[in-house]
Structure formats: structure tokens, C-alpha cells
């Protein structure tokens, strides 16, 4: 099984709109992939489908050849846009929780990263700022030795220093066997760390290419190309 993610004629209708319009897509193992598109283009819908949080209207989505379910949840590490950490637990509790439920969770990795960030693991999440919570959540997600990481807007709404921290964390934990899919509309910041990009707009895949191919053939950055493709 060489493809970690595969979509076959994937369609998702919401009551009032078509979120994904017959998407066909394959994402191979061992890549860092940018899922790029403007707000409302279908990025989050695709990621939610891959996480079994919503069900496709028609078509298929496969993770390592399996339909989303318990088995895929064991190998997919997901960072949603929202912070899902509850207030009353401490960071230690959260690490215990992840360790209990995910067999691929590496506790010492998590503690290492927390120490580097200077977060005291016995603190309650309630006492932390929104930015710190987001970083803790990223640490939890990246401390899993998963096969597929799905990061939904990991750098939206954070300051540039935090952005660098997040991207460094992603590169630093990258394992050549795993695939990381990063959805974002802030392309200039991430394009250096991507192998491939997928442009998505209004539920359609517009372009799939490698970053260096775009730069070589178009003589411009992915960001510049993106602005051209999605010009209003």
C-alpha cells in the first residue's frame, strides 16, 4: 500500500452547499503535503472526512486502504482547528490520556518538547493562554508516531514566532515513513517545508504538484501562483 490517503469520486453535500465535488486524489507515503485553498474551499471537510467525523455523501475515502474507522484512528494523528483540551486536566493528565488511548504515543517525546517549550506539565490547562494551549495540543499530536498527520490550519491565528515554533516542531518530528498533510491558506509561511501542494477551490482539486516543480516551471513561489490562481 503505497498511498496513505486516497479519495475516489468523493462527494460531500451539506444541506445548503456542495463542499466536495467528486474529488479524486492520492497522497503517497513519506511526504509533507500542503492542502491549500481559500476559506470555505473544502479543506476542513476533506480532513473531517478522513477522520470519520462526517460521512461522505457518495464516493470513498481510504486511509492506508481502509475506510475511516477505529483502525484508521489508530494511525492518524489529527490536529483540529479548535482546541479540544478540557480545562480541568493538567498537562500530565492529558499525556496520560493520550498514552492510554493511543498505542503509538511517545510520552518521553512529549515531555522533551514540553520542557523545551518551558511548560510545567503539572499545570492545569485552565491557567494557560490560548497560544500555549495550542502549542501543547500540537505537542500531543506530534508526539504520536502515527502514519498520517492531519493538521488543520496549524498556523492560523498565531504570531510569527509561534509559527516558526510550530513549523520547526513539525520538521523536527518528521519521520520519513509518515505523511503530514497541512491545510492552510497562509502559504508563504509553509511552502519551504512542503514536498507537494494540492490546490483546492470550491470543492474541486485545481492542481497537484511539487513545490520545486512549480518554482522551476513558473519561476515563482507557490504563494505567488496561489494568488494568481485564486485571484478574486
Amino acid at each position: 500500500m503505497e498511498n496513505i490517503l486516497e479519495c475516489q469520486n468523493l462527494v460531500k453535500f451539506y444541506p445548503k452547499c456542495l463542499a466536495l465535488n467528486s474529488v479524486n486524489l492520492t497522497v503517497p507515503k513519506g511526504k509533507i503535503v500542503g492542502l491549500l485553498g481559500p476559506n470555505g474551499s473544502g479543506k476542513s471537510t476533506l480532513i473531517k472526512l478522513a477522520n470519520d467525523l462526517i460521512q461522505p455523501t457518495s464516493g470513498k475515502i481510504l486511509i492506508a486502504g481502509m475506510e475511516p474507522g477505529i483502525e484508521t484512528k489508530k494511525i492518524v494523528s489529527y490536529l483540529p482547528e479548535r482546541t479540544y483540551l478540557n480545562d480541568w486536566m493538567t498537562v500530565n493528565d492529558m499525556i496520560g490520556f493520550f498514552g492510554d488511548f493511543y498505542q503509538d504515543f511517545n510520552k518521553s517525546k512529549a515531555y522533551d518538547m514540553l520542557a523545551r517549550l518551558g511548560v510545567n506539565p503539572s499545570l492545569r490547562l485552565k491557567t494557560m493562554s490560548k497560544g500555549t494551549k495550542e502549542k501543547v495540543q500540537l505537542i500531543l499530536v506530534m508526539s504520536r508516531e502515527a502514519q498520517l498527520y492531519l493538521l488543520d490550519e496549524p498556523i492560523g491565528g498565531v504570531d510569527p514566532a509561534a509559527r516558526d515554533y510550530i513549523l520547526d516542531t513539525i520538521i523536527g518530528n518528521y519521520n520519513p515513513e509518515a505523511t503530514v498533510i497541512i491545510s492552510t491558506h497562509l502559504i508563504a509561511d509553509v511552502e519551504k517545508i512542503l514536498d507537494e501542494v494540492i490546490f483546492i477551490n470550491q470543492g474541486n482539486i485545481v492542481l497537484v504538484s511539487t513545490v520545486d516543480d512549480i518554482r522551476e516551471n513558473e519561476n515563482k513561489s507557490v504563494d505567488a501562483l496561489f494568488r494568481e490562481v485564486f485571484k478574486c
Binding site: Y14, K73, V76, Y78, T83, Y84, L85, N86, D100, F101
Partner: protein, 266 residues
């Protein structure tokens, strides 16, 4: 996985319940102290302590309900749901763990309340009257025979299934409410009332269609002996238990299906 879910569920809820239980016991002791002293100078604080005690019991009842609603809603249908539903755990395990924990706290709340009342009021006269009551109860049992124990067992089962079934009914209503994008609370309450109405309709259809046979059965009972009356009570309880189980199971599968297939977290 269910065991792990249960552990975290208990951890999440005991923060609320254990302090309340402790508070209840403390006030039971305070009241006991006032009663023992029984000074006319302390009439007012005594009255206050007594009403606080009652309020705590009411509070525990309300809290059991609130926590049931809150845990389901917050842990599954708000941002926390992004974590809960991406754990490698089946949806029904989430429902099971929450249901079992609600049952556990409901039973514990009743037990702790009873114990606190017992602690508060225990003295020679109450013990004597309690003993007398127990003796009479035992006497009644020996008269009825083994079916008395069946009655008790049925009553316990009815309470347990009653709690479980009403918990699932609340879960189903919350889940339906969550499908509405704007008026979650209103839709939820509407769904809850709707379930009630549907049940009423079904029950009244069944009753009216079998109206005559039921009347005949009860007419027969009036002339029958004590033994038959006990048996009738057993049957009635059994029917109630079966009703609770059927409603509970139907709503359970409905909730599970909705969460699995129709959920869309915001």
C-alpha cells in the same frame, strides 16, 4: 477501551460529586449536633442548618441531571468532541461509559442521602422504630413467601432500567438538538417532549386495543386471594421493566446511529 473511558468519565465527574457528598455528611453531623444540644438559644442556626441540609440533597438531585446533560453535550458535541470522536473507540463505548457513570452517581447519590439522614437521626428511639419496621417487613415477607424477593428484585431492576432509559432519552434529545445549527437548546427540549408524546401515543394505542382483557384481569383479581395479587404486582412490574428496556434500547440505537452518521461538529 470501555474501562479506560469509564476511568476518565469517573475522574471528570467525581470532581463535582465528591465535594457535594462531603458537604452533605458535614451538614448531617452539624444537624446531629444541634439536635443533641437542643438548646433554645440555637433554634435559629438549627433551622438554617436543617434547610441547608435539605437544599444540598435537592442540589445533588439537580446536579446528577445537570452533569448527565453536561458531560454528554460538552464531551461529545462541543470542541472536546474533536478529541473524543477521533479516539480509536467505538461510538457506543462513549455512550455506554457515560450511561454507566450516570447510573453509578444516581445510585450513590441516593445511598449517600439515605446514609446522611440515618447518621443525622440515629438515636435510641429511631433505632427501635427502625427495628420494629424491619421486623414487620420480614413478617410480611415470610407470609408472601419467595415471590416477595422477586418483587424486590423487580423493583431494583425497574429503578436501574428506569434511570438508564431516561438517561438515554436525554442523550437522544441532546443529539437531535445538536443537529439544529441555531436553536440547539430549543430543538433539544422539543425532541425530549416529542419522545414523550410518541411514547404516550404508543402506550395509549396498546392500552385501548387491549382495554377489555386488562379490565377483566383486574376484575378477577379483586375476588382472588393474596397470592394472586402478589403475582399481579409481579406482572405489572415486569411489564414496566420491559417497557423501559424497549424504549431505552430503541433510543440507544437511534442515538448511536445519529452520532455515527449524522454528526457534524462545528
Amino acid at each position: 477501551m470501555l474501562r479506560k473511558l469509564l476511568r476518565y468519565e469517573i475522574k471528570a465527574t467525581s470532581r463535582t460529586f465528591l465535594p457535594m457528598y462531603a458537604l452533605l455528611i458535614v451538614f448531617a453531623l452539624i444537624n446531629k449536633f444541634f439536635m443533641a444540644v437542643n438548646s433554645s438559644y440555637l433554634k435559629i442556626p438549627q433551622a438554617i442548618a436543617m434547610s441547608v441540609f435539605v437544599f444540598i440533597i435537592i442540589g445533588i438531585c439537580v446536579m446528577t441531571l445537570v452533569v448527565t446533560i453536561q458531560r454528554f453535550n460538552k464531551n461529545l458535541l462541543t470542541d472536546e468532541g474533536y478529541l473524543s470522536f477521533t479516539l480509536p473507540v467505538r461510538v457506543h463505548s462513549h455512550i455506554d461509559s457515560k450511561m454507566i457513570v450516570t447510573l453509578m452517581w444516581s445510585v450513590l447519590s441516593v445511598l449517600v442521602s439515605l446514609i446522611s439522614i440515618f447518621v443525622m437521626s440515629v438515636n435510641e428511639t429511631t433505632i427501635l422504630s427502625f427495628q420494629r419496621f424491619m421486623n414487620e417487613l420480614m413478617a410480611a415477607f415470610s407470609q408472601i413467601g419467595p415471590s416477595g424477593y422477586v418483587l424486590i428484585l423487580e423493583a431494583v431492576l425497574l429503578v436501574i432500567f428506569g434511570i438508564l432509559s431516561s438517561t438515554v432519552e436525554i442523550y437522544a434529545a441532546i443529539t437531535v438538538g445538536n443537529m439544529s445549527s441555531k436553536h440547539k437548546l430549543l430543538t433539544g427540549i422539543g425532541a425530549y417532549l416529542g419522545f414523550g408524546v410518541i411514547q404516550q401515543i404508543i402506550v395509549s394505542i396498546i392500552l385501548s386495543s387491549s382495554d377489555k382483557s386488562i379490565t377483566r384481569y383486574f376484575n378477577l383479581l379483586e375476588t382472588a386471594g393474596e397470592f394472586a395479587q402478589v403475582q399481579a404486582a409481579e406482572t405489572v412490574l415486569l411489564v414496566l421493566i420491559a417497557y423501559m428496556v424497549i424504549v431505552g434500547v430503541a433510543l440507544y440505537f437511534f442515538t448511536e446511529w445519529m452520532l455515527r452518521k449524522k454528526l457534524n461538529l462545528e
